[in-house]
């Protein structure tokens, strides 16, 4: 269990983490989401005592982490796969960590095996790909078999097979009763990984709840419209007060709607589907498709963090 209490970190006059109070529970994978620069990495460094908080406190299983003489049996962390000296081999790196914590050296071979680096273990880390470094970082986190695990953007650089493997591993670790706290700036990464979400924006807490609770927050549904007369319909809908965008093909939720190519797609927010249909009919515009999309996690995330950014900017003025 990780408890942040009114945690604040300032760098000069920039507040990276702003009065954050969160409890990260054991036995579940908790996703830690926020846009770039929202303070996720800073928070993780504060948990590990790598940075000193400006105010507030953070404990891991009831104690400040910096009170532990040795850390690997308490918390395993992968902060940045690049946080490693490239001149050593993976074996030497893990060995140095293991001896410092009196972890039996056989664990080095075990974790390298587990992350799939058994072959490359004797090679210089400097020559590793990002994905290999990511795996090595995970190996280091697992070394002490700790009850709490922190991962900062662990999926970066992993191939699809690697992503699946990491997700399954997180879920297994959580099932074993451990606390697993995983950051990401992409909702889509967390969707199939985490059960709970902690969302921050500009250092503020935005949400701390289960994934399904969070998905219900996505306020306004989007209606996808396809028509040969997209420009005309867009003008009409905009005049009615709707927000009309060309439908983005890469949006997470419209997998079902990217079938036919010719008809121009519009993503409409602010008008319900029946109303759009009525307007089209009255203006003699033929519709090829009219579909209400479920508010996605991604959208909920975007909307909520966009709000936080605007709110913070307004506040600063």
């Amino acid at each position: 269990m990780i408890e942040l209490t009114d945690l604040t970190k300032r760098y000069g006059d920039k507040t990276a983490v702003d009065h954050l109070t969160v409890t990260v529970r054991s036995g579940t994978v908790t996703g830690f989401l926020g846009p770039n620069g929202s303070g996720k990495s800073t928070t993780l460094r504060l948990i590990l005592g790598l940075n000193a908080p400006s105010s507030g406190a953070v404990t891991v299983d009831g104690h400040p982490f910096t009170d532990r003489p040795r850390g690997l049996r308490h918390v395993g962390a992968l902060l940045d796969a690049q946080d490693i000296h490239g001149g050593r081999s993976a074996v030497a790196h893990l060995k140095s960590l293991a001896v410092s914590n009196r972890i039996p050296l056989r664990r080095v071979g075990e974790v390298l095996e587990e992350v799939g680096l058994a072959e490359a273990g004797r090679k210089r880390i400097g020559g590793y790909s990002l994905g290999m470094k990511q795996r090595l970082g995970i190996a280091g986190a697992l070394l002490g078999d700790p009850p709490v695990l922190l991962f900062d953007e662990p999926l970066n650089g992993l191939d699809p097979e690697g992503v699946r493997w990491v997700r399954e591993m997180f879920q297994r670790l959580a099932k074993e009763g451990r606390t697993v706290f995983v950051s990401s700036h992409l909702m889509s990464e967390m969707e199939h990984t985490a059960e709970r979400l902690v969302v921050i924006g500009r250092g503020h807490l935005i949400a701390d709840e289960t994934l399904s609770e969070f998905s219900r927050r996505g306020s306004q549904a989007t209606v996808l419209v396809r028509t040969p007369e997209a420009a005309a319909l867009a003008a009409i809908l905009t005049a009615e007060g709707a927000d009309v965008q060309p439908a983005a093909a890469d949006s997470a939720a419209d997998d079902d709607a990217d079938a036919d190519g010719d008809a121009g797609g519009l993503a409409v927010v602010g008008l319900p589907a029946p109303k759009i249909g009525e307007l089209a009919w009255r203006n003699n515009i033929m519709l090829a498709e009219l579909a209400t999309q479920n508010a996605s996690l991604e959208k909920a995330f975007m909307e909520l963090t966009a709000d936080a950014v605007e709110y913070a900017a307004g506040e600063a003025r």
Binding site: H63, P69, G71, L72, R73, D80, H85, G87, N101
Partner: protein, 296 residues
């Protein structure tokens, strides 16, 4: 970071029930593995050591060319009428200044590397996540650094001295290892290297960047003293005596040659040893404080 508290009030250490007791020697092993697994460490140290021994022995070899001639005509009358007796300085070439500066440079580079190697790569975050008590890590780094540099510098000094004396032994101008002057010179030649390594470590901890740390420590050890040359003002000379290189010269000075002097206002041996100790203590204390206080 309140490691000073000794009473039961302190809750600074919270081991798991089955967690092995933390030991300092484990941290030393960690640092040893880190140093030993970097090729650059060995490269710097072995190149510096080999070059130092070569310069010293080659210097003695070049002496020998003139030595027989000087020994055959030990007394000369100079053009201005003064009488000059030849005295061979057995330390000047075998424990030469330029060579010890190379060792100092090597030591400083390794010392800086132990710190910037952690900070500039981000490795330090991995290290401190494994060992949250930073003081122990720094202490272990110091232990390993001083052990390696002292052992290596001692071997270099011994090989240089004994090799040099062996080369001139047949001319009976060599110095015995049992001679106190020889012992002091060897000790000074050896210990200046760990002192410079600690200073290098300090710069590495302060600056954290590879190139900048090395440039700064070289400037400090070899460039800055040059600003305090000459013997016009006493305070300038006294400032110069505060640098490790100057202290090494004071200790290794061969007093039995009446034709060589240490210049005006020379420093004594005690002063020179205190300069060594002073820099060691300052470097350790400041590095410790800086590493503990600053964000990793």
């Amino acid at each position: 970071m309140s490691t000073m508290t000794t009473t039961a009030v302190s809750k600074t250490s919270v081991p798991l029930p089955n967690e092995p007791k933390p030991r300092f020697r484990d941290l030393c092993r960690m640092e040893w593995i880190k140093v030993a697994s970097l090729r650059s460490t060995w490269l710097v140290l072995l190149v510096a050591a080999a070059a130092t021994v070569f310069i010293n022995l080659n210097g003695v070899r070049s002496d020998i060319q003139y030595l027989d001639n000087d020994l055959a005509h030990p007394t000369q009358v100079l053009p201005d009428g003064t009488v000059w007796h030849f005295v061979y300085n057995p330390l000047f070439r075998s424990l030469s200044r330029i060579a010890v500066q190379l060792m100092m440079l090597g030591g400083a580079a390794i010392g800086a590397l132990t710190m910037f190697g952690e900070f500039s790569t981000g490795q330090v975050r991995t290290t401190f996540a494994a060992v949250p008590k930073r003081g122990g890590v720094v202490a272990a780094k110091i232990t390993v650094l001083c052990t390696i540099t002292t052992v290596l510098a001692f071997v270099v000094a011994l090989v240089s001295f004994l090799g040099g004396q062996a080369m001139v032994a047949s001319r009976h101008v060599g110095l015995s290892i049992t001679d106190p002057d020889a012992q002091i010179a060897i000790a000074a030649y050896t210990l200046v290297v760990p002192v410079c390594a600690l200073i290098g470590m300090l710069f590495g901890a302060l600056i954290r960047n590879a190139t900048a740390s090395i440039v700064a420590v070289v400037a400090f050890l070899f460039l800055l003293p040059a600003f305090f040359g000459g013997d016009k003002y006493r305070w300038v000379v006294e400032v110069r005596h505060l640098f490790p290189d100057d202290a090494e010269q004071t200790l290794a000075f061969w007093h039995k040659d009446p034709y060589q002097t240490m210049g005006k206002w020379p420093a004594g041996h005690t002063h020179a040893w205190l300069v060594y100790a002073g820099w060691a203590v300052i470097s350790i204390v400041v590095a410790m404080v800086v590493v503990k206080k600053r964000d990793a």
